[in-house]
Symmetry: D2
Subunit: 365 residues, 4 copies
C-alpha cells in the first residue's frame, strides 16, 4: 500500500502511466445493488478528456472505459469493480529528450531520487492521465450519493486574475464554457487572459470551488479522519494543488470570533445555522449545511518559454519544452475535484453508518 490506495470503505486503487497500456482503477467496497453502466462513468470521463477546447492539450484520446468486473445484470455486486481505459495516443518519440533532464515544476527529479529511475514518457505515473482512475471511481460514488440525496458540484472560481461573479452563477454554464466557469462573462474574460498567456508561451493558475448539498450532520470521524482532514488529503493529492480551504478558509485568520461563529437557529422545526462561515463542517463533522471547499491550482509547469535546469550529467542547461500541453490545468481538473470530494464524503458516510449501536440494530434486527 505504497500510496495508490485511498479510502477505507469505498476504497480505490488507481494504476497506469501516461504512455503504458492503459489507466485504470479498482473500487473495493462499493455496496451491492447500485445500477451501473459504462455510460454512467463515461459521462464524467468525457468532462476531463483532452482535445475539447483550445485550452486543452490536442492529444487525441477516446478515453473509453471498460468495466472488467463487479457488475452483473446492470447492478453492482459488492465485489471489486475494475475499470480500464486503454491509452491509444502514445507518442513516445516526443518524450525521448526529456529523459535526459529535469523539467522545472515537474516530478522528474523527485521520481529519480525516490526510485532510482523513472518512466519518463509523458510524465509516466505523474501524468494528469492518472486522474482518469479517480474520475471513473468518483462517477460511481457520485451516483451512489445521489441515491442518498446528496449532490456535489465543482466549478472554476477563478483563472489568473479573473474571478466569477456569484450573481451570474448558472450551473448549466459550467459544462458549456471552455473554462468550466458557471459565469459566462467571467469565462470570456478568462479566455482572453489565457490566450495572452499562450501568446507569451506561458501558463496560468486558478481556483476550483466545490459544494456538496444534502450531507446529513455527523459525517466525519474525530480526531484524525475528520471530514475536513480527509477532504484536505483527497484534494491536496491532486497534482498541482498547492492550497486547500474549507468555508471562509484563509480569511478566518484575520476574523474575530464574533464574526466567524455561525449562530444556530431553528428553521422549519430543525436546527440550522444563520450563516455558513464554517463551510458545513464543525469539529471535523458535517453540520448539515452546504460543504464548501476550494483548491488552489498552480500554473501548468510545462511552458514553451525557455527555462534553466540541469541534466542527468549534472550540467546546467537551458531548455524549451516541446509537446502537447494545457495552458491551464483548472478547467479539466474541475471534475477531478468533484470526484475526490464525492469519494471522501461517501467513504466517511459508510464509516459513520456504524457510529451508533442503534444503527447496527437497524441492520441486524
Amino acid at each position: 500500500m505504497a500510496g495508490s490506495i485511498l479510502g477505507k470503505h469505498f476504497t480505490i486503487q488507481t494504476f497506469g502511466e501516461s504512455h503504458g497500456e492503459g489507466i485504470g482503477v479498482v473500487v473495493d467496497g462499493c455496496p451491492a445493488g447500485l445500477s451501473l453502466s459504462a455510460s454512467d462513468i463515461q459521462t464524467y470521463l468525457n468532462r476531463r478528456k483532452p482535445g475539447q477546447s483550445k485550452f486543452a492539450t490536442p492529444r487525441k484520446e477516446a478515453d473509453e472505459v471498460e468495466i472488467l468486473s463487479g457488475v452483473f445484470e446492470g447492478k453492482t455486486t459488492g465485489t471489486p469493480i475494475a475499470l480500464l481505459v486503454r491509452n491509444t495516443s502514445q507518442r513516445s518519440g516526443d518524450y525521448s529528450e526529456i529523459a535526459s533532464y529535469y523539467r522545472p515544476g515537474h516530478a522528474d527529479y523527485t521520481f529519480d531520487e525516490k526510485y532510482g529511475f523513472r518512466d519518463y514518457r509523458g510524465g509516466g505515473r505523474s501524468s494528469g492521465r492518472e486522474t482518469i482512475g479517480r474520475v471513473a471511481a468518483g462517477a460511481i460514488a457520485l451516483k451512489l450519493l445521489k441515491e442518498l440525496g446528496i449532490e456535489i458540484c465543482a466549478y472554476t472560481r477563478s483563472i489568473g486574475p479573473v474571478t466569477i461573479d456569484y450573481a451570474k452563477f448558472d450551473k448549466e454554464t459550467i459544462l458549456s464554457t471552455p473554462t468550466s466557469m458557471p459565469d459566462a462573462d467571467a469565462s470570456a474574460k478568462a479566455e482572453a487572459y489565457l490566450e495572452e498567456c499562450m501568446k507569451s508561451l506561458d501558463s496560468s493558475g486558478g481556483v476550483i470551488e466545490c459544494v456538496a448539498k444534502g450531507v446529513p450532520a455527523g459525517v466525519g470521524e474525530p480526531v484524525f479522519d475528520k471530514l475536513d482532514a480527509n477532504l484536505g488529503k483527497a484534494i491536496m493529492s491532486i497534482g498541482s494543488v498547492k492550497a486547500f480551504e474549507i468555508g471562509d478558509g484563509i480569511a478566518v485568520a484575520t476574523m474575530k470570533g464574533s464574526e466567524n461563529n455561525d449562530s444556530f437557529v431553528m428553521k422549519d422545526g430543525a436546527v440550522a445555522k444563520a450563516t455558513n462561515h464554517s463551510g458545513g463542517i464543525l469539529g471535523g463533522m458535517s453540520d448539515g449545511e452546504d460543504i464548501v471547499l476550494r483548491a488552489y491550482i498552480k500554473p501548468t509547469p510545462s511552458i514553451f518559454k525557455e527555462q534553466n535546469t540541469v541534466n542527468k550529467d549534472g550540467e546546467n542547461i537551458s531548455v524549451q519544452i516541446k509537446g502537447r500541453h494545457d495552458p491551464v490545468i483548472v478547467p479539466r481538473a474541475v471534475v477531478v475535484v468533484e470526484a475526490m470530494t464525492a469519494l471522501t464524503i461517501l467513504d466517511l458516510m459508510m464509516e459513520n453508518a456504524t457510529a451508533k449501536l442503534d444503527n447496527l440494530k437497524k441492520i441486524y434486527e
Copy 2:
C-alpha cells in the same frame, strides 16, 4: 479504526477527554534503539500547557506525562509506547449549563447528531486537550528525525492583522514570546491586539508556519499518500484549522508558470533549486529543499460576548459562555503543528525505506 489512529508505520492512537481520567496516546511502530525519557516528551508538552500567559486559559494543569510501556533501560524497544497524562483540574460544575445548548462554532451539535449524545464536560473529546497525545507522540518523532538530520520548526506567522517581519526572525524568540512569534516587535503588536480582543469579549485567528529542514528528496508516495496530501490531512485534523498551504500556496492561483516554476541548478556538485516556490515538494515528494507549510486558524469559538443559538428543546436562545478560554488558539497550537508535521514526515520516510529493491538489500544482505 473510527478516526483516532493516524499513520501507517509510526502509528499513533490518541484517547481521552477534557474532563475524563486523562489524555493519552499509544505509538505503534517506533523503531527500536532510540534513547527516550519522559523529560524528552515533557519539554514539548510544556510548550502547549495552559496557564502560561495571559492569552492562555488559566486552567491549572501540570500535564505530566508517564511512559507506561515500550521503553526499557532508556531505549525504545520497538513495542508500543503508551503515554498518559492525568487530568487534574476537572471542574465539571462549570460545564453543566452547556449540556443544554449548542455553542456556536463548537462541535456540540455535530457530536450529538453523530453519536446520539455527547460528553459535554469541557468539550469532551473535541477539547484542545486531545492534542496532548499528538504533541507527546510528536516529541518522539522529532527526536528520531533529529537522529536522521532533520529539524522542524513551527512558529506564529500572524495573529489577526499582525504579521511577522522575516528580517527580524529570531528562532529563540519563538519560545520566549507569549505569541510564539519569532519577531519580538510583531509579538508586542499582536499582544496589544489580543488585549483589545479580550476587552471587547472577543477572540482572534491567526496563521502558523512550519519549516522542515534536511528531508532528503523522494519522501512521499504518489499518488494518494503524497507528502503534501498527508501533511494536508495531518494539519487539517487539528481543531480550528480552516486552510492549509504548501510553499507559495494560494498565491499560485494568480501566478504564471514562468513565475512559479523553480529552476534546477547545480550547487556544490548536487542538484538544487534556484527558488523554492514549491515549498519543497514536487509531484507529492520532497525535492530536497526546505518544506514550508502554513495553517490558517480560526478565532477561538468560545467568546464571552452574547451569542444566539438553540437549546436541546429546539428553542432559540441567547447565551453568554462562561469558563476558562484562550482569546487566541494560535500560540499554543504552534507545537501541535510542529508535532503533526514531524509525525507525517517520519511516517513517509519509513514508507520510503522500501521504495527500492536496493534498500531491501542494504537491510537484508
Copy 3:
C-alpha cells in the same frame, strides 16, 4: 502500525509488558450507546487472572481494570475506550539471569534478532500478560454482540491425552473446573495428568474449542477478509497456538465430497443445513449455523527440567528455568480465544453493515 493494532472497525491496540507499569488496550470504533462499566470487563479479566488454581502461576496480580476514556454516564460515547491494568507484582530480580541466554520455546532469541535487544523481564512484551488487553477489549465486544443476539462460548476440549465427552457437556462447569473443561469427569482426569506433568518437571499442551451462536448469514468479506481467514489470524496471533481449524478442520483432508458437503434444507420456513461440517462458514461468510473453531496449543515452554541452549556469548549451556509458571496454558487461554473470536466477528459484522445499498438507505433515509 507495527503489529499491535487489530481490526478495521472495532479496532484494538494493546500495549504493555509483563514487568512494566501496566498492560492496556485502546478500542477505537466502539459504537456509541452501549452500557458499559468496569465490572463488565473485570468479570472476563478474572477468568484469566493468575493464582486461581494449582495449575496457574502463583504470581499475585489483582488485574484490576480502569476505564480511562470513552465512557460517559455509563455509556460508550463512540470515542476511543482506553483500559489500563497496572502491574503490581513485578519481581524483576527473578529474571535477571534469563537476560543472558535464550530460553528454548520462547521469543527471547527472535526479539533480540528483530530489535537488537529485549525487555527480558518476565518475557516483556511476549508475556501472556499481553492478553489482558485482548480480554478487556473482548469483553466489550462480547457485550455488544449480546445486544445483537449473538453468544460466544469457549472451553477446553482436551489437555494432553484427555478429551471431553460431549454427552457430559455442561456449560456452567467451564467456569468451575480448574481446566475450563465443560465435563467434570474429563476435567478430573486432566487434573491428574497435569499433576503428573508437574511431578516430572514438565508441561502439557491442549485444545480449545469455541462456538458462536446467532451470527446471521453473510458475515465475512471475500476474498481476503473471509470470516475463517480473519478468525485464523486472530487465533493464531495468540501465543502458543500452533494450529487452527474450522468445522471438521483437518478431517476434511481425508473425506469425500459426499461426506463433507452439508445439504441445505428448509426448517421453519427458513434455509438451514442438515449438518454442519463447514463449521458455520461457506465461501468465507457465515452460513447461519453455529461457527465452530479450534485452537491447538503447545505445552508451556517454561519447564523446570534441565534443557540445552546457548547464551549471548555464543556458548552451549544447560539451564534450569526458575520462576512462576503454568504447567499448562490452555485453561487460562480459553477466555482469550473467546475474546479474539468476539472481536473478529464483531469487526466483520460492522464491515458487513455497508455491503448493500439498501443498508445505507436504512441508516440515511
Copy 4:
C-alpha cells in the same frame, strides 16, 4: 477495502469473476528495480491453469497474463503493477440452472444473504479462478524474495488416505506429477484413488505443505501481525482450506514441553536449533530455521452425485450438478499456497525493515 486487498507494504488487490471480462490483480508497493517480464509471471500461472491433467477441469483457458502498468524497460518502477488475464471460455449457458438453487458446500447461499443477489455464472467471484490474481502477484513476490536469498516450495503432502514418503522426496517431481506430489510412488497411488472417486461421482480432499528456506530471524510483528498469524490468514483465505498449522501443528496439543521445545545450539559460529518443532517461528517471528506450514483442503464441493438442497422458492429439491469440475482441488492449489506464503513473508520483511533505528540510518545516512 471490503476484503479484496491484502498486505500492508506489498499490497495486492484482486478483481474479477469466473465468467466476467477477466481476472486480475493490482500490486501496490513493489520496490523499484526488480527485473520483471510477463513470462516470469506466466510460468506460475501455467502451474494452476485448467485442462492439464485428467484430474483438472477440462475448461480451456490460455490464462495469458498482460502487464498493464508498473514496469518500464524491463524493471519494476515502484508504481502499481496491474496484471490482467482475460477470460476466454465463458460458457454462461451451462450455469443458468444453478441460479435457481444453492449448491451444497458452495458460497451461493452466503453470497445471496450478504449482497441480496449473486453473479451465479461459474461461481462468480467465489470461483477458483480468483486465485489467478494471487498467483500472478505471488510470482513477483517469489522473484523478489529470490533476490534476497529466500526460496519457497509447496507440494501436495496427501490426497485422501495417500501421504508422501519423505524418503522419496524429489523436488523436480512436484512439477511432473498430476498430483503435485514430490514422491512419484505416492502420486501413482493417489491417482488411482482419484480415479475411484471419479467413478463414484465423488471428490477428495488433501493436504498441501509449504517450506520457506532462508528467511532471516526476526521477521513478523508481535502481537497481531505475527508471522504465523498472517500466514494463517493468507492460507485460510484460500477457498476450501479448513485447517492451518505451523511446524508440529495439531500434534503439539498432546506433546509435553520437554518434547516440543527446540534446544538452541551453536552451529558454525551462529545460533541454530537442534530440532524444528516450532516450524521456524517463535513468538510470532521467524527463528532462522525453515518455515513449515500445512493447509488442509476439503474435497471439491461440486460432485456429480445426487444431493439434497433447497431452491430460491424455498423448496427442498434434489440436484445433480453438471459442468466441468476438478475431482480434487489440491494439485492446482499448490502454487496458490506457494504464492500466498511468499506474499506474506515479503510483506512482513518489508515491515521489519524499519524495526530498528539502525536500519533507518543505513537507508538515510
